[in-house]
Symmetry: C2
Subunit: 345 residues, 2 copies
Amino acid sequence: MSTSPAPDPEPGHPASITSIAAEAGVSVPTVSKVLNGRPDVAAETRARVEGLIERSGYRRRRARQSSRPALVDLVFHEMNSVWATQIIRGVERAAAEERAAVVLSELGGAHRPPGEWFDDLLARRPLGVILVLAELDEEQRARLTARSIPFVFVDTAGEPPPGVPTVGSTNWAGGLAATRHLISLGHERIAVISGPTTVLCSRARVDGYRSALESGGIPVAPELVRYGDFYVNGGYSHGMDLLTRPDRPTAIFAGSDFQALGVMRAAGELGLSVPGDLSIVGYDDLPVTEWIGPGLTTVRQPLPEMAATAAQMVFTLARGERPAVERIDLATELVVRQSTAPPRG
Amino acid sequence: MSTSPAPDPEPGHPASITSIAAEAGVSVPTVSKVLNGRPDVAAETRARVEGLIERSGYRRRRARQSSRPALVDLVFHEMNSVWATQIIRGVERAAAEERAAVVLSELGGAHRPPGEWFDDLLARRPLGVILVLAELDEEQRARLTARSIPFVFVDTAGEPPPGVPTVGSTNWAGGLAATRHLISLGHERIAVISGPTTVLCSRARVDGYRSALESGGIPVAPELVRYGDFYVNGGYSHGMDLLTRPDRPTAIFAGSDFQALGVMRAAGELGLSVPGDLSIVGYDDLPVTEWIGPGLTTVRQPLPEMAATAAQMVFTLARGERPAVERIDLATELVVRQSTAPPRG
């Protein structure tokens, strides 16, 4: 009654499920169980079969018209702001076009063991996996590859492994544009508060900031370069520290709109007006920037488009095609509002 | 190899898949296809079988240990704020405990036809469905019931149909507490800005407001009772209108923290200080209230707990048990911060 799950090899690929079973010394149904992520296979057998599958270059053909409903997994390291909502909406939109449903997981906040979570992911056989600032170890990547489940990263924390499709945005250019805007207004003491040093995009934005200063003939003051978390408190505490210095900066470029809110709060508590005493540039262009006065000058990061692009790459890969480009950075854009002005004096 | 999907009737229930097939004049596999949401059944046949399933009181027994991975569907009417993130996290937490994955859909914003979306939902056979301010029509409810897929509403817009499990919060008590707090500070001209009149919780909060005024011996002024959308703009436009009246209110109770932000913005633009010239109470207690100064006095709505409770009800129902209570309202709580103070004068 059910469509048989036994997959055929692709034309041109000599490896078949039968030859893999023979080489592994197991039955064809056992190989099929491994491919389908069924738990009732001994760990050692599973590892042996997976290794053979990977080395053989075997690719299962996906029955796109199968009765099994199409799922795509969206995995966040942490999902605690409107930032995440923007990503979810982009993936939802792209998935709707493919008539796929979105399964959402949060790794950092979830109360489930990562190994169990990964086994369940394999068992539901998604069309593909989209990871947002979440990582996969080498074994997990190999297990997905062995099952022809493609995966795409959005905004990797570290350098993505070669050949792994990644969607990001032009962080370096964003940092450059924000800092150039402040220089063009006449600022010279410009601080930057970025995200954690361990996250690639934080470093790219600071490098853009440095380049803008250097090409403007302004020396980089190490005490004005800060790294912290991307949330309001990170902006608040660094902002407080920077703004209580005797030689306080006249402008601060924050690594996120939330950090910018924190800086704004610190300025408010110190009785400094924005943009009169302090210019502030944010990053992301989340709806939050519209809620508070003065309107925040910020670097727009196209989050829904990044997410939709990642989803489309997953669907392309799931059809057995290669995407045109494997590493895409969508353009950032400076949005000038009321939080920046020439320095006083 | 696979566990047979043919379900047995529950003890005490005379209807079986065989008797339903006989009565409908179709084969047993056809009834099974209807139960499994397979598309290859004529619409007329499907309707006849579903009608018989429903009338017969047939309940399939769920094979909880099946190889099919457990899914729970979380459906938003609209998902565009941190409000939604709080709900998602609550469901994620409860789903992790049951080792179920969360499938997320947004109906208002999704670019997929609702009929197609619902067919796909049936086809993936979730353990259950959680609906947030989203509705199901009678036919959809019948189709879920026929397949023993339970559904629970979080914060219904309209009056939930009898017998449909619902999780909400004590909106009336929240409106009462917020208004009593303002009265106790000495306010008499107190406005309320609530959500749309079509949403049940908006009306409950306004009724709580009215009760507090009446029991405080303060007449309700119709021009101070406003309904709008729950977002920042709704608060801003009603706030502007209220605060430019010659007899402007000295306090405003807003229907959401976002509306409260909009009111705060309107006050700022009119040069009114908070809480000096105007006291503001919000609703929800989202993280957003911590970002802006002065800290917002608000009514805490336990969103993650509401979501987790709804998910637990779904899992209870999926096991074929009845939840202890079918209609749960979790308690709201007034959180007093800096945005409220005695009126001037």
